[in-house]
């Protein structure tokens, strides 16, 4: 079984998922006990619970899995991961499914496209400045994806600004050139892997 984040020559969808997860996620040990689903705070809003997702992965139902809103509704609370009797790295598997869903171009069909759009906007700021920028992130995300609802964010933004909890301009780190070189190299390695 492939155990590395960097091996991608896999035969089955199961192997593909495992290869896309750092370290050894122990996915082959899943007992289908459902502890993960029972522990999940947003399980009720998912179209397949984590346990069902693992069964679907084992069954090779790639399209169903990558169109699911499940990984996007994961709040990264790690309850499933510390409770799993088989020590499966569930949260990391959810991140892997998000990445695969984006790579396959299926995330817009997941029923939760806002999540990856938000992540995309977040990343643009980090890659340009080296730091996240809340005002820009929230405004751009809402104007691009929820222009009608954006106005609802105004009281919150104003409240943040009034309490000196909001920067009006982003901060750029000194070593932004260095960071961008590192990220460019990392993306190149990802492509070659």
């Amino acid at each position: 079984m492939a155990t590395s984040a960097t091996t991608t020559h896999s035969e089955t969808f199961f192997d593909e998922v495992v290869a896309a997860t750092p370290g050894n996620p122990h996915l082959d040990l899943c007992l289908q006990c459902g502890t993960c689903s029972g522990s999940c705070p947003s399980g009720a809003d998912m179209d397949h619970t984590p346990r069902a997702i693992f069964a679907l992965i084992a069954a090779g139902m790639k399209d169903t899995v990558l169109r699911s809103n499940t990984p996007w509704y994961c709040v990264s609370c790690y309850y499933c991961m510390v409770r799993c009797p088989q020590e499966i790295h569930i949260t990391d598997l959810m991140y892997a499914l998000k990445r695969m869903s984006i790579q396959e171009g299926l995330y817009h069909k997941t029923g939760a496209p806002e999540a990856s759009d938000f992540a995309g906007t977040f990343i643009e700021y980090v890659e340009s400045y080296g730091r996240s920028f809340e005002l820009g992130l929230a405004t751009r995300h809402h104007l691009l994806h929820h222009p009608v609802d954006a106005v609802k964010m105004v009281p919150l933004g104003w409240g943040m600004w009034r309490r000196k909890r909001l920067d009006l301009t982003p901060k750029r780190i000194k070593g932004i050139g260095q960071l961008q070189a590192i990220l460019a190299k990392a993306k190149e390695l990802r492509g070659a892997a």
Partner: protein
């Protein structure tokens, strides 16, 4: 004791009160926090959802800088933000487990003239440092204005206690270190069964209805146990419970008014520091009425301006009653 300090993006502004109060209580305790020079964002939970190797490279630049600046702050890196703490310790652990991943990350770091040996920097949460390196006895010596009578609900959130990649400093599901710390401050710690449940993280930006329900549960739980204040160790938890409390009230027809403070803010008050030195007043839900109840701020300061109910209707600001 000397530590490298990684404030993280939230503490730069949004959670400025955490930054200010952390530094204010660290000094008398002899914790010397040397800010990591030119640190970058840890990527929160967003970066890793889109990119794997670049996310690990992003995080590792900080670890590499910490190793490079070792002489200034030692080999321990303190993060007050739970998400930063998780990302830094997780990247370190997974690179330690997978030499292949570490090699690729190092190839990327080399493009910026950096290098990192997994395991060489130990990432710590600020709560862990205060409780385990300084200890309750030493902390107690600094308490000059005990928080007697203040009912505190200690809220740990998720990722400081789960999954615990390096320093599993407290129980995953029922942590108690902050409970004990608050008792040392003289506060009355209430039972808070949901103390390690999730605040929703960035779900407020993705699905408000899912997020608001998670926040509501926490507020209800603290309210059921008659807490005067919820105390947090994470800027994300503080923001969600504080800035979205009015949204929860509107959404569910509730009327919660529970102030959310950082544990370092309450420590500072117990140490006799002034509220202004601790960033108190930056919260949406005013903490002063609760603090006035136990004599921590003057009665005058605690007066909440309530609008005359017979007056003409006016738009209401978030946090206003």
């Amino acid at each position: 004791m000397k530590y490298s300090y990684y404030p993280g993006c939230s503490l730069e502004r949004q959670a400025g009160a955490y930054h200010q109060s952390a530094l204010a209580v660290a000094a008398p305790l002899g914790i010397e926090l040397v800010e990591l020079e030119d640190w970058n964002c840890c990527g929160a939970i967003e970066y890793i959802a889109v990119e794997l190797l670049p996310a690990y490279a992003l995080i590792s630049r900080n670890l590499a800088l910490a190793a490079q600046q070792n002489g200034k702050g030692g080999n321990q890196l303190v993060a007050p933000c739970s998400a930063c703490y998780l990302n830094l310790s997780k990247a370190d652990k997974y690179m330690d487990d997978s030499p292949e991943l570490a090699a690729k990350v190092n190839t990327a770091l080399a493009a910026g003239g950096l290098n990192y040996t997994p395991g060489s920097i130990r990432t710590r949460h600020l709560l862990d440092v205060i409780v385990n390196d300084i200890g309750f006895d030493k902390v107690k010596e600094h308490v000059s204005s005990a928080l007697t009578g203040l009912r505190v609900a200690p809220y740990y959130g998720c990722v400081a206690v789960r999954p615990g990649f390096h320093d599993h400093f407290d129980d995953h599901e029922y942590p108690t270190s902050m409970d004990k710390l608050m008792q040392v401050m003289g506060a009355q710690v209430v039972d808070f069964p949901l103390k390690a449940h999730c605040c929703g993280g960035h779900m407020t930006q993705i699905s408000q209805s899912v997020a608001l329900e998670l926040i509501r549960r926490l507020l209800k739980n603290a309210h059921d146990y008659a807490a005067d204040v919820i105390v947090t160790i994470c800027p994300m938890c503080q923001l969600n419970l504080d800035a979205y409390q009015e949204s929860v009230n509107r959404h569910f027809g509730t009327d919660y008014q529970i102030p959310i403070l950082y544990f370092t803010q309450l420590m500072g008050l117990a140490f006799g520091l002034a509220p202004e030195e601790l960033g108190i007043g930056k919260e949406f839900i005013d903490a002063r009425p609760a603090l006035a109840k136990v004599g921590q701020v003057g009665e005058a300061a605690a007066g909440r301006t309530k609008r005359d109910k017979k007056a003409l209707p006016m738009p209401r600001m978030a946090g206003e009653v």
